[in-house]
Symmetry: C3
Subunit: 217 residues, 3 copies
């Protein structure tokens, strides 16, 4: 049951990786690679921190969603104008599932509740972050026009609370994941935001300087 939920999350992130590869004009091998990094990266980082040989590398089945995602995107490439929306949709699905499974796995390894939340969030945002970093775009995580990490933080906190109360079941876990997914989509649709890092700049000027990425700040 846990494996099915985890593979579904990997699949969602993998598809988002292949869609980014399509959008950036990479080839199908790059697509598989980016699907693998997006789908498996968060979990590998989590397992390294937990001082475990990553499950990904002990059981090759974890790689099948990446291959499947790349093939799906290859055979059913969406129209260009739909790409962005689909990337965000699949990314949101992975985010919801991984903030639950990541937190749960940390808890089963005896981490304290706060650490487990932090590790769950790391798992949830890690795959998408690595996907964006290695394909050389500013991570979606930092997009100030919607909220990304906040639903994952909330979902991981709920998972940790449910676990402490003894109410964590596959069903309650999936419910949390679906709520995180919906919150993320709602933030995209309605432009929910949190305040900017630079507090008082809101009033002064709405466009803080955005360095070109190749320049030193």
């Amino acid at each position: 049951m846990f494996l099915i939920i985890e593979l579904t999350g990997i699949f969602f992130f993998a598809v988002s990786g292949s869609l980014v590869a399509a959008r950036r004009g990479f080839d199908v091998i790059g697509s598989m690679f980016l699907a693998g990094v997006a789908g498996l990266g968060g979990g590998v980082v989590r397992d390294l921190i937990l001082d475990q040989t990553p499950a990904t590398f002990t059981n090759p089945i974890y790689f099948s969603p990446a291959v499947l995602g790349a093939l799906l995107v290859y055979f059913f490439t969406p129209a260009v104008q739909k790409l962005q929306r689909l990337i965000l949709l699949f990314d949101a699905g992975g985010l919801g599932l991984f903030c639950v499974t990541g937190t749960m796995k940390a808890l089963t390894f005896g981490m304290n509740p706060i650490t487990a939340v932090l590790l769950g969030v790391t798992t949830a945002v890690g795959g998408g972050l690595l996907r964006d970093v290695i394909s050389n775009v500013t991570p979606e995580l930092f997009n100030p026009r919607d909220i990304y990490a906040l639903p994952a933080i909330t979902g991981a906190t709920c998972t940790s609370l449910l676990w402490a109360l003894g109410w964590f079941t596959p069903l309650s876990g999936v419910i949390v994941a679906v709520l995180v997914f919906l919150a993320r989509l709602a933030s995209l649709k309605y432009g929910w935001r949190v305040p900017m890092a630079a507090g008082h700049w809101h009033k002064e000027h709405s466009n803080p300087p955005n360095d070109g990425p190749q320049r030193h700040y």
Copy 2:
């Protein structure tokens, strides 16, 4: 004592991360995330290499400087024209402290002196490097207009020497950190440099080609 020094270093890097977030126009959650990565990234990499569960994830107190840094930057955002200077200032503070604590931690885990220096440098430059990489700017480490890694390498070497001679104390450690900090600031003020990677290009032309980041070289 060691914890206080380490938390101070984390705080310095965390503030630099939040200032980068402010400069790049990220929101306050992104600011906390970047503060966490900048402050904790170097230590996490060091602990993974030492085959330890990162201290960061076993004791949640390590996350408090990141939250504090993001809040400080939010409530006391400096003027735009002061941002660059403050980023470099806080980064230099973290660099000085981490090249000492990183080397020391590697030595306490029984690493040989040379390895400990390399691991200390990794700790010192790792947080800033990850901060810059995930916010999609060319790392400050590679800025050829001043010296960045060299003070950290020197500080880590001094720490390793002091340790071997039995003269390493919290006081001598802090003195090394302050000297590294001052050397870094002096290099920024006086434009100290080391030779370019491409030795003989100095004479031929002063502007080697700088690829746009999205192009393949």
Copy 3:
């Protein structure tokens, strides 16, 4: 024998890192750092996944090729117009050797053959990927105008097969590495490609949108 082959691979990637540093206008310390990341990054990631303290950090000899590579590039900087070709040449040499040694090391640690292939490919492409990511260019791995990962995947698979059949020797390993190297060079010379990630876009339009790296997709 194994150490010599591994150090040769590290040297090739280290030179590619220093050449990238030269091309991007970094200084000689940045050149050493990039040489170290390119040469040692793939192996460090492999060892972390194998839950080993990276060999790199237990034996400082692993750092000598990085220093040597940076010095060579400093004293014998090639002409600008030859840089790109040399980067790709040395990168190809490292790719060939590392897909063999990475797979072999995973097999000696008792990994199953499929996992060993995946870990070998991770080792082979990891160094170049980290080199490109931290110097803020789109990784060569994703360049759709030639093939990069495919020769490494093939070489790692051959290594795993030779091992299973009991035919793996230093000689057969070097032969596989040379064939991977030649296949990579041939793909550069003759423009061998694999299909694009976005299957049907070939017919519709040849230039899928390539986001500037600083924009959110």
